[in-house]
Amino acid sequence: MNITENKKMTEVNPEINNQIVAFISAHTGVNEIDQHENIFESGLVNSLFAIELMTYIERKFNIKVTIQDLSLDTFSTVSKINGFVTSKMTSNV
């Protein structure tokens, strides 16, 4: 279970990726976002934006961000957000 989950975390779903990047771009005006760039540390977004992002992915991908998931690290790179969304969508099925 853990092994397959880890594997899923590393797979990049391009469709989800594009939507996450589009959402961040719309709010920052920056179009090129590296998969592994820490969007908080690089100053691209702040923690308030992270809340908007959580709300967006909940609605867009029909998943639930629970209190246990509330760590800014989960949302710190496009790749991690993608992995989080993917694992949530899989566990919903």
Binding site: G43, L48, T55, I67
Partner: protein, 513 residues
């Protein structure tokens, strides 16, 4: 009985109000937190008094601040009241701030005692002060420790809260008990706080919005729920805390209310049914946000209130009860609260109705001044000849109509608000300039939207020092909320014809490295 209509009745203190409530409601829940801790008024009073006893034994006296450095919990509330029972004002310190910052604040305030908790990991600040650990004091509670002589007057200090100062050092605002009692009693009367109400403490105690969250509950025999530290950012945790503990009064900075409302759907709305009032302050409350609020909440059940006030006049001095219709172009900051007057001035002149000028405040809510800074105090707290009163000059721009209704128009200096927190950009600049390699610098606030804003530092690096070194230095000097989100190295800064730096051009983002 305390009433804002009877000035003499305000001659009391926060800890006296608590003690009276504890006599009336000994077995009612006073404070609870996420760890499952729940204290009745009688239990809370006993603990707070024993902390007060220990501090007084260690030398706590009236008007000399006692520092507190711990994370939010029920015990933190005990410690704060404990400091008040000792007779001293409390001085809140940020557990996440660098030790050097906290040492600076302790020394500026000349604090000689500090209370910490075993449960909070902190970098201990340097300095010559006595150090008490809360858990040790509570473990050592004896009945005789609570027979504590009451030594305070209403004009003794209740707290000293530091805010950003443009010179590079923060400044400590000294607030007296009578001022806080007036502010809180007014709120209890205006919003009919009742002993079955529950308040939530979620604002970090280093900001003065926390003051009504920390103390208002005991004015009506109500209860307080203390949210886990760090969780105040997340709508999910706020919704579940409100639902589980039946919270009825809550505060939001407008930008956080906006993300909160975006998050709240039909399921969450049901969980929020216990709410009666949502209070906003710290930033301008926009019409769009108020419309969004009443699009989700029914005015008959939950009401939105807009507060305004600087730390120098005890949390809030004006209020506006927002109605669901006829919102107009902008939401006013409203009318003055009890025993407080607002004046619109231009230097020595008092302006006419409708004219825009500087907002000045007089009355019971005014601070004593800035601690150990008489020069700075005299600059902002002045006797105004035409008004014949002592006023605080806020630096905010506002106008007042014939009914005393006040509109706010922002500032004309370099003070900014980031998520409700007041920041002097000059303080960040002056910290940067203390680094040997920073020849010149400008710090601006880059506002992408009402919700997305960044502190950007433009730096002329004289000897090409590693930028990372400069960043590390800033991190070790300033609290998290003041650290620039971005650094841009430049060789020149854009200037106006006057020679002043062109901040507008920098804000428009034209200049990049």
């Amino acid at each position: 009985m305390i009433s804002t209509k009877n000035l003499a009745s305000l001659n009391t203190t926060l800890h006296k109000v608590l003690e009276d409530a504890a006599l009336e409601f000994p077995d009612k829940v006073a404070v609870k937190d996420a760890s499952g801790k729940s204290l009745t008024y009688a239990e809370f009073l006993l603990r707070a008094k024993s902390v007060g006893y220990a501090l007084r034994t260690e030398g706590a006296v009236r008007n000399k601040p006692v520092g507190i450095l711990m994370d939010r919990s029920a015990d933190m509330i005990v410690a704060i009241f404990g400091i008040l029972f000792s007779g001293a004002p409390y001085l809140p310190l940020d557990p996440a701030a660098p030790a050097s910052r906290n040492s600076k604040i302790l020394s500026l305030a000349e604090a000689t005692l500090l209370v910490t908790s075993k449960l909070t990991d902190v970098d201990m600040p340097q300095g010559a002060y006595g150090h008490l650990i809360l858990e040790n004091i509570i473990a050592d509670t004896h009945a005789e420790n609570v027979d504590l002589e009451y030594i305070n007057d209403a004009d003794d200090l209740a707290y000293v809260i530091f805010t950003s100062g443009s010179t590079g050092d923060p400044k400590g605002v000294m607030i007296e008990h009578r001022s806080v009692v007036n502010r809180l009693q007014w709120m209890k009367e205006e919003y009919e706080l009742y002993h079955e109400d529950v308040l939530i403490q979620k604002t970090p105690y280093i900001f003065d919005v926390s003051v009504w969250e920390l103390f208002l509950w005991c004015f009506a025999g109500s209860s307080l729920y203390v949210l886990e530290p760090g969780y105040e950012k997340f709508p999910q945790t706020i919704v579940s805390a409100v639902e589980e503990h039946k919270v009825s009064y809550i505060h939001f900075i407008p930008s956080l209310l906006n993300v909160f409302l975006n998050y709240v759907g039909p399921t969450e709305l049901k969980g929020l049914a216990s709410l009666k009032y949502v209070f906003c302050s710290g930033e301008s409350l926009g019409v769009a946000l108020a419309e969004k609020f009443y699009g989700q909440f029914n005015y008959e059940h939950i009401r939105l209130v807009n507060f305004y006030g600087p730390t120098e006049a005890t949390v809030d001095v004006t209020y506006y009860n927002v109605l669901p219709q006829d919102l107009g172009q902008t939401i006013p900051i409203g009318h003055a609260i009890a025993n407080t007057e607002i004046h619109i001035i231009d230097g020595d002149n008092v302006l006419q109705e409708g004219e825009v000028g500087e907002l000045a405040i007089s009355g019971v809510n005014l601070a004593r001044g800035y601690i150990n800074q008489p020069g700075l105090t005299d600059q902002y707290f002045v006797y105004h000849e035409q008004l014949g009163k002592r006023i605080y000059k806020s630096g905010d721009q506002a106008s007042m109509n014939s009914d005393g209704l006040i509109h706010f128009y922002g500032r004309n200096d370099d003070q900014v608000k980031v998520r409700g927190i007041r920041i002097e950009l000059g303080e960040i600049e002056n910290i940067l300039l203390r680094h040997a390699s920073v020849e010149e610098c400008v710090v601006i606030l880059d506002k992408k939207s009402d919700n997305v804003m960044f502190i950007v530092a433009y730096i002329i690096n004289s000897d090409n020092a590693n930028l990372e070194d400069i960043k590390e230095y800033v991190k070790s000097s300033l609290p998290m909320y003041m650290i620039p989100n971005r650094y841009v190295e430049v060789t020149d800064l854009p200037r106006l014809a006057s020679g002043k730096i062109d901040r507008k051009q920098l804000r428009s983002g034209v200049l990049t490295s």
